[in-house]
């Protein structure tokens, strides 16, 4: 690995894309139900395991390349969406109109449950697993930076998903309903919108994005374990807050800022890992608690 500027930029984009995919789910769920879903990082972990299971099942075809990768991507997204939807239905929905603290504590419970369940489950277990190489790895050199086809895949998938989500939220009737529900649930009901089904859709999308991030992270940082969601989840949460929680473009912006901070941190002050990320969080909370793009009147979705 070179350490040229170009190389650093690619590393930041790569990490930022994964943070962004996770942060989007955090921010969308917050926008729509004002819940900080601490289990969201674990949905990312579930996505990684689901993708791993797909590769395991199709062991014979490893190296077959992109068709398998896209199958795994689809199934990882379904896995992430499913676990997000289940968490909503079983844990969050019954507490929807109870004091906020109940669902916050419940979210921590869901998070711990997923981590311990995966650690204790015989087929999974607490130990690290190497993530298989599904594509023959190829390296390209651009402006003196080395970039693998895995990284290109990451960036392409993340960009596609983010553009797709922006389109969905801004231009489709589902997106319009999501924005309406995030702004005023009573008014949305009076328009005939089934608020619960829009909330479900939001969890599904957020979970699917976390699932996709799980696969991408598995491919590029090829180790997975049941606690792998904690740190990226925390970073993505900070990213969402930095960008303005509830704000979709804000989450993307925050994610790349956090990735840049991590990169600088690891390069120059590597003895205190994550220091910069937390300093940024504290600074934002002091200077601009609504986040960079967050405003009182902004779309909370």
């Amino acid at each position: 690995m070179g350490s040229t500027l170009a190389q650093q930029i690619i590393n930041v984009l790569q990490l930022g894309s994964i943070y962004a995919l996770i942060a989007l789910g955090y921010t969308m769920v917050y926008g729509i139900v004002r819940l900080i879903n601490f289990a969201h990082g674990d949905f990312f972990m579930v996505g990684a395991y689901v993708a791993y299971a797909v590769f395991y099942a199709f062991n014979a075809y490893i190296g077959a390349g992109s068709p398998l990768a896209f199958l795994a991507l689809a199934i990882a997204m379904i896995g992430g969406a499913a676990i997000a939807m289940l968490s909503n239905q079983l844990a969050y929905k019954p507490l929807r109109y109870k004091p906020k603290l109940s669902s916050l504590v419940t979210a921590i419970g869901v998070s711990m449950f997923l981590e311990y369940f995966f650690s204790a489950f015989p087929l999974i277990g607490p130990s690290q697993r190497g993530f298989p190489e599904i594509l023959p790895k190829q390296m390209y050199t651009i402006f003196g930076a080395e970039i693998s086809n895995y990284v290109i895949l990451d960036l392409a998938v993340a960009a596609t998903l983010m553009v797709g989500l922006t389109f969905l939220i801004q231009k489709t009737s589902l997106g319009r309903a999501m924005r309406a529900v995030s702004q005023d649930k009573d008014a949305a009901k009076l328009m005939g919108i089934n608020v619960e089904s829009i909330i479900t859709a939001t969890f599904l999308i957020g979970g699917a994005f976390a699932g996709a991030a799980g696969l991408l992270a598995g491919l590029t940082y090829p180790r997975i374990q049941p606690y792998m969601g904690i740190l990226p989840g925390l970073k993505a949460f900070i990213a969402a807050v930095v960008g303005g929680i509830g704000n979709v473009p804000g989450a993307m912006l925050g994610a790349y800022i956090l990735a840049l901070a991590d990169n600088i941190n690891d390069t120059y002050i590597s003895q205190f890992s994550n220091l910069l990320a937390f300093l940024i969080l504290i600074a934002i909370l002091l200077i601009r608690p609504t986040g960079i793009l967050g405003e009182k009147t902004a779309d909370k979705i």
């Binding site: 009737s173 309903a177 009901k189």
Partner: protein, 234 residues
Amino acid sequence: MLTVKNLKVNYGQIEAIKEVSFEVPEGKIVTLIGANGAGKTTTLRAISGLEKASGGTITFKGKDITNQEAHQLVPLGISHVPEGRKIFPTLTVYENLEIAGWTIKDKKIVKQRMEEVFTAFPRIRERISQLGGTLSGGEQQMLAVGRAMVTGGEILLLDEPSMGLAPVLVDEIFERIVALNKMGRTILLVEQNAAEALEIADFAYVLEVGYTKYSGPAKVMKADPRVREAYLGV
């Protein structure tokens, strides 16, 4: 068309509605008047499904709709313009109207009704790409009524449509209400502005601290000394 019988609504321990009964005949304008906190808003919210009734029944077009989900009542024909208008602040005016057609499958009908809104409120047409939250209070009120026109309910529940409006605008809004009624919509109107409400209504009910106290044809109520003293300030 709409019958409310012995309605009770509680907020936790607070009994906001203790016993409210009234009837809204098809094609008529019925007004609920009463002091602040009498329970007018709560009554409308219970009808449209935003609050749960803890007792009594609400019947609409012969069907028991007590405690049905709000979003299911919209396609049945109940449109509620809530207190405080509740415009979606970061949806554009156009999107605010468009989303009011959520339950309507045929989007041509939605477009056609939006045209009707623009005809009724030319000012709204001029502002279609503006964000809902940036409209003036009067414009928001027009947009709120416009949304209900798109939703297309057979009965319109209007909660203080004149609140915070300049006298000219109050007249304009009341004219629109009468026009909507002439076009066949049944109207249940909640108002602080009792004088104006009694002017256009067919029947009136007076709410006091959770009870329906008096009722009668609007003309009679307007002359009733108890109503005149308490609500018309004469």
